[in-house]
């Protein structure tokens, strides 16, 4: 039971220092009136049993797809829908 989890955890640990594009579960999020899709891209600074932390991290807002967030962001593993290390943070793609 626990060893299954450890396999994935060990793989995640290897991503420390790498850039990751992470999509989470919410349909949309809202930052002081700015509505955006939960698409985050950043360098993995920390991997723990329940979450990963991206620092620095950009939020891919429709009008500001390279908005650098002023603080790191931690993402609970249970909220992550998908992630890729092969999409660079400066990639441009539609967010609508």
């Amino acid at each position: 039971m626990a060893h299954k989890d450890d396999d994935f955890f060990r793989e995640l640990k290897k991503l420390e220092g790498e850039q990751l594009l992470v999509i989470t579960r919410a349909v949309q999020l809202d930052l002081l009136g700015q509505v955006f899709r939960p698409v985050f891209c950043g360098t993995v600074s920390e991997v723990q049993k329940g979450h990963i932390t991206l620092s620095p991290v950009i939020i891919k807002m429709v009008n500001a797809p390279f908005y650098k967030f002023p603080i790191p962001l931690s993402i609970p593993l249970e909220q992550i829908v998908s992630f890729s290390k092969e999409v660079p943070c400066d990639a441009v793609f539609p967010l609508a």
């Binding site: 299954k4 989890d5 349909v27 809202d30 002081l32 603080i71 993402i75 249970e78």
Partner: protein, 95 residues
Amino acid sequence: MNQQSEFKAINDIREEAIVTHFRKNKDKKVFILTESFPFMFIGKIKEVLDDTAVLDVQTTSVPALEGKEWILHIDAIEVFYIETGIGPKIPDLKD
């Protein structure tokens, strides 16, 4: 043990790990985004009860909801950042 219950156990382990992480950071300042209204909370983690965090909320998207104690379901947190003293400080995001 069949596969389905194995996966369930992994989900439980991760949720428990997040709750433990919040409990370890009691009295720290936290920034939280949720999909649900009012979307953003900035405040201090006062207590962790089961899978909920008791927050002293200083800032939300809605001024009328600030300065209050809020109880937040930890499973509903989409992204967060806890100020630990090592990393950057949570800015005053109010305009």
